[in-house]
């Protein structure tokens, strides 16, 4: 459980994070968001923000608005993604677009982004605002590339890594870099914090892709394939077993599962092993970076450091 290894201050800050928009003109938007993309999320990104801040000795109150911004941006991308993917369920609940309409889902996402711009402008840290603008550009770019990649069987490793970095890692990079900006850490430490976020984000994506091929996982088996996307595991399977190209091409984008999958279980296992090794390599780098970051801080908060390390351990255990 996450709460087992979070420092008390961070746990309290995450639990008490105010995600109400209080939109006076259209209060319905608040209600809709509260039932969908802002409903009981894991708040992982705000948690990263608070933890990294605590490592640097920052008070959670200082970070509250930035953590909120991270969660709002994440929620906005979820709202927009559900429209793009025509999804009707998220976390086993109807999506925003399913509850209302595509138009309203797009507008609700836009409102979240607008609120982020306003709140961060009030805080006045132009570097952080610029970073977040660049992050939103990355998120859009990543989604664009992924959209283009639907039903494309032959993708490159670089493409997968680029999309993972833009779609999954970019916001985590911002969450890890923002506290460093706030304490005006030097460029090397800021880069290390951002790199930690990047490694975490890419490892996250790889782990998600491994779980996609786990019959006991939370999601339907090979969901990415059915959505027309080649993920890290599918890619590795195709690399080692080119004879699977034709059968997998037929499955790409088909919503219904076939009666039998065209691959053998050992082929999936081998592919998962290779992706697992890469994810573990990313987590190893993240660990090294954490050590370097903490060495650069005069009085690092060891509880926060331990919690940031625990994230890496937790991720390793998830794919063991």
């Amino acid at each position: 459980m996450v709460s087992d290894w979070l420092p008390k201050e961070t746990l309290k800050a995450v639990e008490n994070l105010d995600l109400n928009l209080r939109v006076r003109s259209v209060p319905e938007i608040d209600a809709l968001l509260g039932k969908t993309v802002l409903f009981r999320g894991k708040k992982f990104r705000p948690m990263l923000c608070f933890l990294m801040g605590q490592l640097f000795g920052l008070d959670p109150d200082t970070l509250g608005s930035y953590a909120r911004a991270a969660e709002f941006v994440h929620a906005a991308t979820l709202a927009h993604d559900d429209v793009i993917d025509e999804s009707t369920l998220r976390r086993k609940r109807p999506t925003l677009n399913a509850r209302s309409s595509n138009a309203r889902a797009v507008l609700a996402g836009d409102l979240l982004l607008a609120r982020v711009m306003r709140e961060l402008s009030d805080l006045g840290n132009i570097d952080i605002i610029r970073d977040l603008s660049a992050t939103v550009e990355e998120l859009v770019g990543g989604e664009w590339l992924q959209l283009e990649a639907r039903k494309v069987l032959v993708v490159s490793r670089e493409h997968l890594e680029t999309v993972a970095k833009m779609k999954t890692a970019s916001l985590m990079i911002w969450c890890c870099g923002t506290p460093a900006r706030l304490v005006q850490a030097d460029e090397k430490i800021l880069t290390a914090c951002r790199k930690y976020g990047e490694c975490l984000g890419i490892a996250f994506q790889m782990i998600d892709d491994i779980i996609d091929y786990d019959v006991a996982g939370d999601k339907p088996f090979a969901q990415d394939l059915r959505e027309g996307l080649v993920n890290y595991v599918t890619f590795e399977m195709l690399q080692e077993n080119p004879q699977l190209e034709r059968p997998i091409q037929k499955l790409l984008g088909e919503p219904d599962a076939p009666s039998t999958w065209p691959w053998e279980s050992y082929q999936v296992k081998a592919a998962c092993d290779r992706v697992r090794a890469r994810a573990q390599a990313k987590l190893e780098i993240a660990d090294q970076l954490l050590s370097q970051i903490s060495k650069s801080i005069e009085k690092p908060d060891y509880n926060a450091l331990q919690a940031l390390r625990s994230i890496l351990v937790y991720l390793r255990e998830r794919i063991r």
């Binding site: 664009w144 590339l145 283009e148 990649a149 494309v152 032959v154 993708v155 490159s156 490793r157 670089e158 493409h159 890594e161 680029t162 999309v163 090397k188 430490i189 880069t191 290390a192 790199k195 490694c199 081998a270 092993d273 290779r274 697992r276 090794a277 890469r278 573990q280 390599a281 990313k282 987590l283 190893e284 780098i285 090294q288 970076l289 370097q292 970051i293 650069s296």
Partner: protein, 360 residues
């Protein structure tokens, strides 16, 4: 599978040995060490992250498949196809075939090409350029199927044999072949090795146009028949353009990676949009050269027409590249492979045309 992750400083004394041997000692035993990531800390100190596994747990395909991968047999079309075209052209012109010299030279060039593939793989592996996520070579070293030290030895033997087999032809026609041989050897040696490392430089691509183009076809012609013609120069130029198209298409899809590494290619110099235009010009160059060979230097019309049969696939490839939103687009992932297929089928069809000219 028992796998662990270890990290070593890139400047440590043992890194080069581990990369060459692919082994590291752990718990008193030898484990296979496969490089997975390179990272740098805030002070700029780089570390290499290895996945280590017990050697017997590495799943290797058959001996043939391992070596077919290592030698990148599919790449040999760059040397086989021009050789076939020149052979059939010469026979169609009733030139006298020097079987032994020609055969030795052909084998020598093949071995030189194999040597380039093997040594290039080793170099890129030792420079940690080929890692999961960025592998452009055969991948046999990254998978632990072979070790770099052994591959380097085989590459050097292939290089030496290739040079030796070419000597008789050079001695027979020193005037031109010596120059071609020196340029070829310089190209082979300098492809990925310092100080030239032409693979990583803009002018490297122009050297591909020449080395895999007219120089190769003229060299073959002199080795096989003791003479050459301008038709072969332009036919070779056509092949050179098609070979360049493969490299350029690959570089278009790697613009961002190359920019990050500081590798200069024509694609990084021109940018994504202009690079696509250059690809069109390269293909125009290929077919113009073929047209000149047919129209002005009496290359068989069959060869010309059959060579044009792949144009619809060229158009399809170019359209796919123009549809891509940017250098990271998934649509670009297979462009190099498509360009290679175009090269292969062009060469085969032109050879068929030349064969028809020979028969009829």
């Amino acid at each position: 599978m028992n796998q662990e992750i270890i990290s070593l400083r890139k400047d440590s004394s043992e890194i080069n040995r581990i990369l060459l041997d692919g082994l590291v000692t752990r718990y008193g035993e030898k484990w296979a060490a496969l490089p997975r990531e390179v990272s740098s800390n805030p002070d700029g100190i780089e570390s290499v992250v290895f996945e280590i596994i017990r050697p017997h747990e590495i799943v290797r395909p058959s001996f043939f498949q391992v070596w077919a991968n290592a030698m990148r047999l599919e790449d040999l079309v760059f040397t086989l196809v021009p050789g076939l075209m020149v052979l059939l052209y010469g026979l169609s012109q009733n030139w006298n075939l020097q079987w032994i010299l020609g055969g030795l030279s052909f084998l020598g060039i093949l071995l030189l090409h194999l040597a380039v593939n093997l040594l290039n793989d080793v170099e890129d592996h030792l420079k940690l350029l080929d890692l999961p996520g960025t592998v452009s070579g055969s991948g046999v070293l990254q998978r632990g199927w072979l070790n770099a030290r052994f591959l380097k030895r085989v590459g050097l033997v292939a290089l030496s044999c290739g040079v030796l087999l070419g000597i008789p032809a050079v001695l027979n026609s020193p005037a031109i072949l010596l120059g071609i041989a020196v340029m070829g050897a310089a190209g082979v040696a300098g492809y990925s090795n310092r100080p030239f490392s032409i693979k990583y430089r803009v002018y490297g691509e122009f050297s591909i146009l020449l080395l895999l183009g007219p120089l190769l076809s003229v060299g073959y012609s002199i080795a096989f028949f003791g003479k050459f013609s301008l038709a072969l120069v332009f036919l070779g130029l056509s092949a050179g353009f098609l070979a360049w198209a493969i490299h350029h298409a690959g570089h278009i899809s790697h613009i961002l990676r190359d920019e990050t590494r500081g590798t200069r290619t024509v694609a990084t110099a021109l940018g994504f949009r202009n690079s696509r235009v250059l690809l069109v010009l390269i293909y125009l160059g290929a077919y113009s050269s073929l047209g000149v060979a047919v129209g002005f230097y009496h290359l068989s019309i069959y060869a010309g027409l059959l060579g044009l049969a792949v144009v619809p696939w060229v158009v399809k490839l170019v359209l796919r590249i123009f549809r891509a939103s940017g250098p990271s687009s998934a649509l670009l992932s297979s462009v190099k492979k498509s360009a290679a297929q175009i090269y292969f089928w062009s060469g085969l069809l032109i050879s068929l045309g030349l064969g028809l000219a020979f028969v009829f």
